[in-house]
Amino acid sequence: MSLIEMRGISKSFGQNRVLSDVDFTLEPGEVHALLGENGAGKSTLMKILMGVYQPDAGTITLDGEEIIGRSVGEHLNQGIAMIFQELSLVPNGTVADNIFLGREPHGLGWRVDRRAMRREAARLIELYGFALSLKTEIGRLPFAQRQMVEILKAVARGARVLIMDEPTSSLTMHEEAALMGIIAELKSSGIGIVYISHRMAEIFAVSDRISLVKDGQLIGPMRPAETSVAHISGLMSRGVATVELARGNAARPGTPALEVRGLSTAGKLRDIGFSVAAGEVVGLAGLVGSGRSTLAKALFGLLPDRAGEVLVDGRAVPPGDPADAAKAGLALVPEDRRREGLVLDQGLAANISLPNLDRLRLGGGWPIFSRSAADALFGKFRTALAINARGPRQAAAELSGGNQQKVVFAKWLATSPRVLILDEPTSGVDVNAKAEMRALMRRTAAEGVGVLLISSELEELATTADRVLLMIDGRITREAEPGLHEAGLRAMLQDEVASSKRPVIA
């Protein structure tokens, strides 16, 4: 008898039928991978298993017992836990608070046992070797670190069923490795794991069975051995042939699109200098906490304490004001789409129009906002990026993670920037869309835009970037020679880290 059996699950949001009559099973001690395009319904299916949503139809059994509960709480008590794609952490709590959120150790009279909490949390962090400090508040942590906390939180529950919804979307090799360790350990102790990811390498590394969500149906399950990345992306795709990247050094001579000299911030960065030529894609590799996002923010004028020079097309960009940066032709796709990228409660057209307001004036002159222009703009990118959405008025919050990411991408492409800074642009984006977006980056570059690509997926850097810079703890220490492949990058990054005296994470 299976650990989990979901039978005939159907779910719609309003008119939008997401799942129709889906069956899904999970065996003890197995990793069942779940793939599918952005918006296919993976998270929804798992949120139903977690008790977040009630299915419109269907049954769920755990060890053969009906467990359709009304709340997450009931399902947690049943021994089901989940790493949420959008995380389940409270910003005002410390790392320790969050790891034990909802199940704090307590004594008489519901007295919270803080000491035990800290001890236990410390042990976990130690055990899995994540770079976290107990007392820091979640609200202050960048997404990657928060994702680590989310992992610990779920793992520490000691559940029998563990759902992992894109746990590594913004993690780098260290944490990825750590997670693989955790998974192996859990498997051996007979826990069933559902693993959702868009990183094919991971999928094939960990999973025992692979299923696909497509058009509300479940395809599979199949064994990794019996299939291949190509086969799967073939199954997933909407017929879009996976794009071949027009690589090859497109860098144009003359004044670089972006030039950085002696850039430093009090917090993190030290004396950073590099340049991105027009038409070139420059990759930035590093470990979590190495300062890549900090650099991106500093370039975009989001950090007041920036020192040094930033020139776009040879013209200096004043520090400390994103508005100036945007005017100068800089664009930033931030790493944390929910917090930094989107106004979740508002429509997609509204979101895309934000950095483009001045372009969307009615008939140029008066500061009148033209809705139709905004909708047109959205429509354009909806097709260009294959954004899976109902329409320009749909609230961003209702989009699937990957599609949200595309919207953020679109909103900055629309500004037709001179320099495009991408911080983990394809995190949580499905394989095909990923290929499309990488092609898009190349195309954007080909149009003479300088692209700075921050990515935790070395494979992405290897395939997409012309040059790759290595960032270690706030310094750009080295440049990888062109045409280097993933394995090479990984090796190089490893020995860079090893050779840097200072600890990787401050």
């Binding site: 309003g14 975009f300 989001l302 004001d321 994103p322 508005a323 940066a325 945007a326 005017k327 930033l332 931030p334 917090r339 930094e340 990228g341 989107l342 106004v343 979740l344 409660d345 508002q346 429509g347 509204a350 129009s353 934000l354 950095p355 307001l357 001045d358 969307l360 004036r361 500061p367 009148i368 906002f369 008025r393 749909q394 609230a395 919050a397 209702e398 909103k411």
Partner: protein, 311 residues
């Protein structure tokens, strides 16, 4: 709070507001003696003009994710200042402009304190409430200042044009202005974005602080205008004419469907909210309920009305 945020639901919600609003009105029209009359409509619009005008300014502040509790006392203070300026012999147009400017300035100060010093607007404007209600009492040592010059009294309140009273015209003017700023102009987009997600807004190159400051300037100016109208209504500036208005105003805005947490709201909603409150109070009095009983029913109706339209 506002979990249901899909635009669809929002549209429905607003519609329901209007439906309930109509229902209550019709109810009164049927049961309340000589309620259904042109005079009544005029009276209600006059009575709610003050709240409507301020509510429109407040809408911007609340959408931007802040709040302005100072409007009531700023209104009182503005009335006093206008009266004093005219008393000092200034031409009334000049006095009005100066008072309006002062209101805008007070708003700007609120905005600066909130954005630059990062003090919660609730505290800043609560402090200002105290400051200006005190100031209004102090300038003349609690004594009201008559406005003898009738020109301005007529323009602001007592006069009428095409049989429609001045205060109604002013409300209309402010509504149009507010509608343009919020729903038509780029500024409106910025306010909505800032209220929806300030971080994302600034990541999109929107100047969050400036946007909020302007929102406060609008509510300060609206309060000043309302204060002048109050003064004109009673042909004198009285230091406590506007006292307590802030609660009515915020209630109107929220009933109108604006989210207290910012990011969503409409001008029309706020005005309808104001008129709705006005109608309830008026209808209940006409039906012969005394203030105390009125309050009970009024409170109940407000809760009911909104509860229905949140479903």
């Amino acid at each position: 709070m506002n979990t249901q945020n899909s635009l669809a639901l929002r549209l429905l919600r607003d519609h329901v507001t209007y439906v309930i609003f109509l229902a209550v009105t019709i109810f009164f029209a049927v049961v309340a003696p000589n309620f259904a009359s042109f005079a009544t409509a005029g009276a209600i619009l006059r009575i709610t003009a003050i709240v409507s005008v301020i509510a429109i300014g407040m809408t911007f502040v609340i959408i931007s994710g802040e709040i302005d509790l100072s409007v009531g006392s700023v209104a009182s203070f503005s009335g006093m200042i206008l009266a004093l300026l005219l008393d000092a012999g200034l031409p009334s147009w000049l006095g009005a402009i100066l008072t309006l400017a002062m209101g805008a300035a007070i708003g700007a100060v609120n905005g600066l304190l909130v954005t630059r010093l990062k003090i919660p607007s609730f505290l800043v404007t609560l402090g200002m409430l105290s400051v200006f209600s005190g100031a209004a009492l102090t300038v003349t040592n609690t004594m009201p200042v008559p406005i003898v010059e009738n020109g301005i009294n007529n323009v602001l309140w007592n006069g009428s044009l095409f049989t429609i009273a001045a205060p109604v015209w002013w409300t209309l003017l402010v509504v149009l202005l507010g509608y343009y700023l919020l729903h038509v102009s780029l500024f409106g987009r910025r306010v909505l974005a800032v209220g929806g997600n300030a971080v994302a807004a600034s990541f999109s190159g929107i100047n969050v602080n400036r946007t909020k400051i302007w929102a406060f300037v609008l509510s300060g100016s609206a309060a000043a205008l309302a204060g002048m109208m109050l003064a004109a209504r009673s042909t004198a500036g009285n230091p406590s004419l506007g006292a307590g208005l802030e609660l009515d105003v915020i209630a109107a805005v929220i009933i109108g469907g604006t989210s207290l947490f910012g990011g969503y709201g409409t001008i029309l909603g706020s005005v309808i909210g104001a008129i709705f409150i006005g109608i309830i109070g008026f209808g209940l009095l006409v039906m012969g309920f005394s203030t105390s009983v009125q309050e009970i029913i009024k409170g109940a109706i407000i809760i009911l009305a909104v509860s229905v339209n949140r479903r």
